[in-house]
């Protein structure tokens, strides 16, 4: 069984994230890392492999991103993925979800028959939560997405999805695209052994040429949307803070709510 897990390299959310002059996300001058939300995808991929002991299962971590994005694949290898693929090409810079899903789809096709593609809930930078669905559409596969619980047996998969109006159990038959939420279970830390083993694992670097994708199909120039303006949100002006003493806090808060016409 072949599992491909999608891992994105993102700017650190706790750092000062910025835009470039062309309004693309600055991915070079900011510390980056494997998106926390994709660690859950790696974890579930590894758990499927571990639960299906005795079967021949390969977990391949795949990323599309700049040079530094290799770190995201490395981390997945340290966690326990078997091999990695990093698609990097200057032409990809500034790609939107539509182009990213195209490159991911071509890379997955190049990897040969894949049984399960596993993604995260959302990338922590763009956060559209659309790439897995786009990928499913491009690959002509069903999707079982936003899973909080995943179970597989043979070629069957069952997931739990906590929707707004109902909690649902969704069933599907492999091959398909799966995405998991941060409710699916804590991701493991790489062990010392894992970190050492990762150094010897294969990590391929592919360019657009290797995938037969034309440079004109990706990047900022090919984007289906154009950003016209970005603006930092004005900082909130410091508010009034009171310390409660014998009910004074409640009174002050009630007065504040009344002054703003909430009561």
């Amino acid at each position: 069984m072949n599992i491909v897990v999608l891992v994105k390299y993102v700017p650190d959310a706790t750092a000062d994230r910025q835009f470039e002059d062309d309004f693309t996300v600055d991915r070079v001058n900011v510390d980056g890392l494997l998106s926390e939300l994709d660690e859950y995808a790696v974890e579930q991929s590894l758990q499927i492999k571990e639960k299906r002991e005795g079967e021949e299962i390969t977990v391949t971590a795949l990323t599309v991103g700049p040079e530094a994005a290799e770190a995201a694949v490395r981390k997945a290898l340290q966690m326990g993925a078997d091999k990695g693929v990093h698609v990097v090409d200057d032409a990809i810079a500034g790609s939107d979800a539509i182009a990213t899903s195209l490159v991911l789809a071509k890379a997955i096709e190049k990897l040969g028959p894949v049984d399960l593609v596993v993604g995260g809930l959302a990338s922590t930078d763009a956060g559209m939560s659309v790439v897995p669905a786009m990928l499913a559409e491009r690959l002509g596969l069903p999707q079982v997405t936003l899973a909080s619980v995943v179970e597989t047996q043979g070629d069957q998969i069952r997931i739990k999805r906590d929707g707004d109006v109902a909690t649902e159990v969704i069933g599907g038959t492999l091959p398909l695209v799966l995405s998991v939420t941060d409710q699916s279970g804590e991701a493991r830390y790489p062990s010392f052994k894992g970190i050492m083993a990762a150094k010897k694992k294969p990590l391929d670097t592919w360019s657009l040429g290797d995938l037969g994708v034309d440079a004109s199909q990706v990047g900022l120039g090919a984007a289906y949307t154009a950003v016209e303006e970005t603006a930092a949100r004005p900082p909130r002006t410091a508010g009034e803070i009171v310390t409660d003493e014998d009910g004074s806090g409640a009174k002050a808060l009630a007065d504040f709510l009344a002054s703003k016409k909430f009561i």
Binding site: A13, T124, A133, D164, V165, I170, G239, V242, F262, I263
Partner: protein, 317 residues
């Protein structure tokens, strides 16, 4: 004027408020046509409801072949409708499922997609809030039929009579779209409170509640507010995940957000810092949430909130 398709958000034909907001925004771009995907029995009620918000047409797509499946069949249905109506744009209420429907639709129609817009102007420029609400981005779809998912509370619904001409639309759903199936479904219990993402006021609780949400719920009910929670409260099993506010929960942007026993981690801020007015009650005067507030009380939520609740009740008589 070209049509603008608006997917109706409804439960069994009961139309939800974000639909009216989308119809109001759609009128800026063209002639709003509402799209009803659901049971035949609910279509008349839905058509009547959207008529009051300017829908000139109501496409009715019977969901007999669609319900029981997620995402893919809806994307097929909308792609077929777009093929026949050639709309100027397609608007969907932002929800996890609709964003995925929009994603598949964008690939099918070879069109650009903008998700989670918080505003939309006459020229189709959408405003989004990004990087945990720290930046505002304005952008536009430049290829194909613009597909835009819009967050609740993005516009004030404007009442306006429309023709609401009911137009049944037949769709053919492929077998391939029916391969992931809903095996079981457990509807969420209605809380009787406003929907978290639509509410004008949200009162939230975090780890500081110690698991006792009664003070938070009491204030919420006195204010007619929705209840929210931090991830710490959800992970502790005190509140269901659907109540979670933040990066991996709901993004809310109410008139008033009251954070109680919540420290204000960046992932929580991501879901609430665009709220108009922010209030916090926290024992720790150093809590980062106080950097955001318009008004803060350093104190114990278990004593402060009940007293505020009494004051609210007294004021409302």
């Amino acid at each position: 004027m070209a049509e603008v398709l608006v997917l109706i958000d409804h439960a069994g034909g009961q139309v939800k408020k974000p639909t009216y907001e989308l119809l109001t925004l759609a009128a800026k771009l063209g002639e709003p046509s509402a799209v009803y995907i659901g049971g035949a029995d609910g279509s008349a009620g839905a058509a009547e409801a959207v008529k009051a918000y300017g829908a000139e047409k109501v496409y009715v797509i019977d969901d007999a072949q669609i319900k029981g499946y997620l995402v893919a069949p809806k994307a097929e249905a909308l792609a077929q409708l777009a093929g026949s109506a050639s709309p100027a744009a397609i608007l969907l209420p932002s929800s996890a499922e609709n964003k995925e429907v929009a994603a598949r639709l964008a690939i099918k129609l070879d069109s650009g997609l903008i998700t989670d817009a918080v505003d939309l102007d006459e020229s189709g420029v959408a405003t989004q809030s990004v990087f945990a609400g720290n930046y505002t981005v304005k952008g536009k779809v430049t290829k194909g039929t613009p597909i835009i998912t819009v967050k609740p509370n993005s516009a004030a619904p404007v009442e306006k009579a429309g023709a609401a001409a009911v137009t049944p639309f037949e769709v053919t759903i492929s077998d391939a779209a029916k391969t992931a199936q809903i095996v079981a479904s457990q509807p969420r219990k209605a809380s009787g409170r406003p929907e978290l993402t639509e509410a004008a006021i949200v009162v939230s609780g975090g780890r500081g509640t110690g698991g006792d949400f009664s003070a938070v719920e009491g204030l919420a009910d006195a204010l007619g507010a929705a209840v929210g929670a931090s991830r710490a409260a959800v992970d502790s099993g005190w509140m269901p995940h659907t109540f979670q506010v933040g990066q991996t929960g709901k993004t809310v942007s109410p008139q008033l957000y009251v954070a109680n026993g919540i420290s204000g981690a960046i992932q929580h801020r991501a879901g609430m810092q665009t709220s108009k007015t922010i209030v916090a009650v926290n024992k720790d005067e150093e809590a980062p949430i106080f950097e955001l507030v318009d008004f803060g009380v350093v104190g114990d939520l278990h004593t402060v909130l009940p007293a505020v609740t009494e004051a609210v009740k007294a004021a409302k008589g």
